[in-house]
């Protein structure tokens, strides 16, 4: 597998803390990946259509509140941090911190304690720390949520 994403946008991600898990694809994004769907691109554009899926149970708002609701509707509750907890799985929602935080990315915690991220239209990867994908593109993790571990439907934990 080759790495196609622009390295300048993920300055902390390197061959020592990250392994590729898929080829690049436009089929799904980080939100879809975090909820375990590799068939659709999830994003809350305000109008229906336009190439995006967003579930009916969640407001079509590009806000942290809406993204938190998305995961709460899937059994998650907010928690303090991304530490590994026995029996739980976590997601982290990222945003840039200048001004009102607008969601940019979500990462999912594997049973090993490592994290997995789908990098936009590029590959999905497994990285050691949730903060390995901090940077100008995604900002930093703003909200963590957890639920009882159900196992990611696609990736081998």
């Amino acid at each position: 597998m080759s790495r196609n994403w622009p390295a300048r946008e993920l300055p902390q991600l390197d061959e020592f803390n990250c392994i590729d898990h898929s080829d690049k694809t436009n089929s799904y994004n980080c939100i879809a990946w975090a909820v375990g769907d590799t068939s659709r691109w999830w994003w809350p554009l305000p109008l229906r259509g336009g190439g995006n899926y967003w579930p009916e149970d969640t407001p079509r708002d590009e806000t942290m509140e809406a993204f938190v609701t998305l995961f709460k509707n899937r059994g998650y509750t907010e928690c303090d941090d991304g530490s590994l907890e026995d029996g739980n799985e976590k997601v982290a929602i990222f945003a840039k911190v200048n001004g009102r935080p607008v969601p940019t990315h979500a990462a999912y915690q594997l049973e090993s304690g490592k994290w997995t991220s789908k990098l936009g239209r590029f590959e999905d990867v497994i990285h050691d720390e949730v903060t390995d994908v901090d940077g100008p593109a995604y900002g930093v993790p703003i909200v963590y949520l957890r639920r009882q571990r159900t196992h990611h439907p696609i990736i081998n934990n």
Binding site: E9, W41, W43, L45, R48, G51, E62, L119
Partner: protein, 143 residues
Amino acid sequence: MSYQIVEERTTFGELASAHWLQPDGGDVWVASGSYSLRATRKTFDVIFSDAQRFNELAEKWQAERGISSSSTAMILCPSYQAIIGMGPPAIDLILARLKAEGDDPDHWFWALQILTGINPVPEEDEGNVRKMADTWLKWGEGR
């Protein structure tokens, strides 16, 4: 991006038909018939100019959107907006590109929806890029 223009002429030297090939061989634009040399050239210049501009903007869009997962960020890229700003001539260019992208179609759906004023994609296929691409290509063939 450079193009190879191939011209065919009548025995009287008039331009009978012409087409151009993209470097990747993927798209072939053809015009033929009883055009005068000047009229054909003018038509070609317009189409060629649109195709060239579209391809340049499409490449620029790849760089501008980076690793963003946000569809909002993707469609607000200046180059994507400029493609929408090309108006109706962009529709066939987008459809040709969508076809050339094959199994991994890109996110041209918002632009198509804005440019055409319709959304032929069934609600259950929303977000599935392959199914959406198939629907739009079928729509294009049926126009």
